[in-house]
């Protein structure tokens, strides 16, 4: 229970922040995706199966308060989680630039996946969607990347305090 409840509550907390505080900012295009950052961090903290279930829950939460009727995030978030799990050993994640790049890349990839799903499953014309790549996806992924190092630091402190064990891959120094 001690391992399950905190990530669920943190997920809900970030969802609330994303739907209220971040939505009240005047520039919506630069709104970072906090739940995506948290999902990426879950890949470092939890094993694939348990973490995968948590990632599905994070996606489900996103879909719950979204106008997205099909529930794309329920599918895209576990995919992001497993991809992050796969790359976590191959990616040096110490320092601002690498963490920024990591989140920025995953933000872009998830956005492209959502665009593809929208144009295939929801019959939204791709001609209408592709300008969003520059107007929404790039600024949002950029801001997500910028916030990531700070949140990773907070998550690191929070998780080491909660579980009293160093995370693999994040703190290990050769």
């Amino acid at each position: 229970m001690k391992r399950v409840a905190p990530p669920l509550l943190v997920g809900i907390f970030f969802l609330i922040l994303q739907t209220t505080l971040l939505s009240s900012f005047p520039i919506q295009r630069f709104r970072p995706d906090l739940l995506l950052i948290f999902t990426l961090y879950l890949a470092y903290l939890f094993p694939p199966i348990f973490g995968g279930i948590l990632a599905i829950f994070m996606g489900y939460l996103m879909d719950l308060f979204s106008g997205n009727a099909l529930g794309f995030y329920t599918f895209s978030r576990p995919l992001v989680f497993f991809a992050a799990q796969f790359f976590k050993e191959r990616f040096y994640l110490e320092g601002f630039s690498s963490q920024f790049l990591f989140a920025f890349t995953f933000g872009l990839l998830e956005g492209i996946l959502i665009l593809m799903l929208m144009s295939t499953l929801q019959a939204v014309s791709f001609l209408n969607l592709y300008p969003l790549f520059f107007t929404f996806l790039l600024p949002q992924s950029f801001s997500t990347g910028l916030v990531t190092p700070l949140l990773f630091l907070l998550f690191q402190k929070g998780s080491s305090h909660l579980f009293r064990q160093p995370e693999k891959g994040m703190k290990e120094k050769v």
Binding site: I12, T19, T20, F65, G67, L70, F136
Partner: protein, 294 residues
Amino acid sequence: MRARDFFLFREYSLLISIILLLLFALVLMSLRAKQRKGVEYVDALLMEFCSPFQKASHLVIKTVQGTFQQYVFLGDLQKENRALKKRIAELQEENHRIREIELANERLRKLLSFREKNSPTMVGAEVIGRDPSSWFKSITIDKGQRDGVKKGMAVISPAGVIGQILKTAPDYATVLLITDYNSAIDSIVERTRAKAIVEGKGENRCQLKYLLRSEEVALGDVVVTSGSSGNFPKGLMVGEIKKVDKKGHGVFQFAELVPSADMTQLEEVFVIMEPPLPTEPLEEKGKKGKKTKK
């Protein structure tokens, strides 16, 4: 042979689990698309759990924003005169409070007169949250099934059409805005009575689809609901045409419109509970029913 199978399974168990989890996510997606009761029940349960926090957070943010604005203003005054700071702060606070009350009063009076003018079967709701993703356009309101809100009901504001109810929980509901890509409303151009479908285009813009090339539309033309889609009463303001494009070939022309209601500044909205029903035919039906019973 069995032992070999077991070891093979153990070797690939992680991969199998990942595939199963992804399949589960796909099943969830398809259940949501089919609007199965189970998924709707879980949705409502989670919304009921999360939305009170959302409401509280919304309230805190509004209060903090107000206080912060006051503080910044006070900071400037402090530089000018230290002695007058306290007095000015008090006056400013009072002034701010009065202005807030005055604005709220004016807004509510407008809402009330709008409600009285249009339909008595409307429920006022407060916007407590917005879409967590940038791709989709929706808002969360503090009225739900207990207040009679149902899926598909029209949501409006004094400025015009806002959208329709997408999901409901006992005390909360999600509204799909007309600017969302998945939104479509049957409408007409007020001046020429040309029929078209208003579809969302993201970022506070919509487009007119299936507008015949032969129809005359101009910049500034007002688009209103046609009333034929059932949920929206006829004649509600949707927006104003900002771009007309007849270039290219085909049966239809392209037009872009800006919604009359600013979707980024929504605070209070109305949910139309039932479209106004004609009373006479129903009474006649009742009489006929009674006659046949006799």
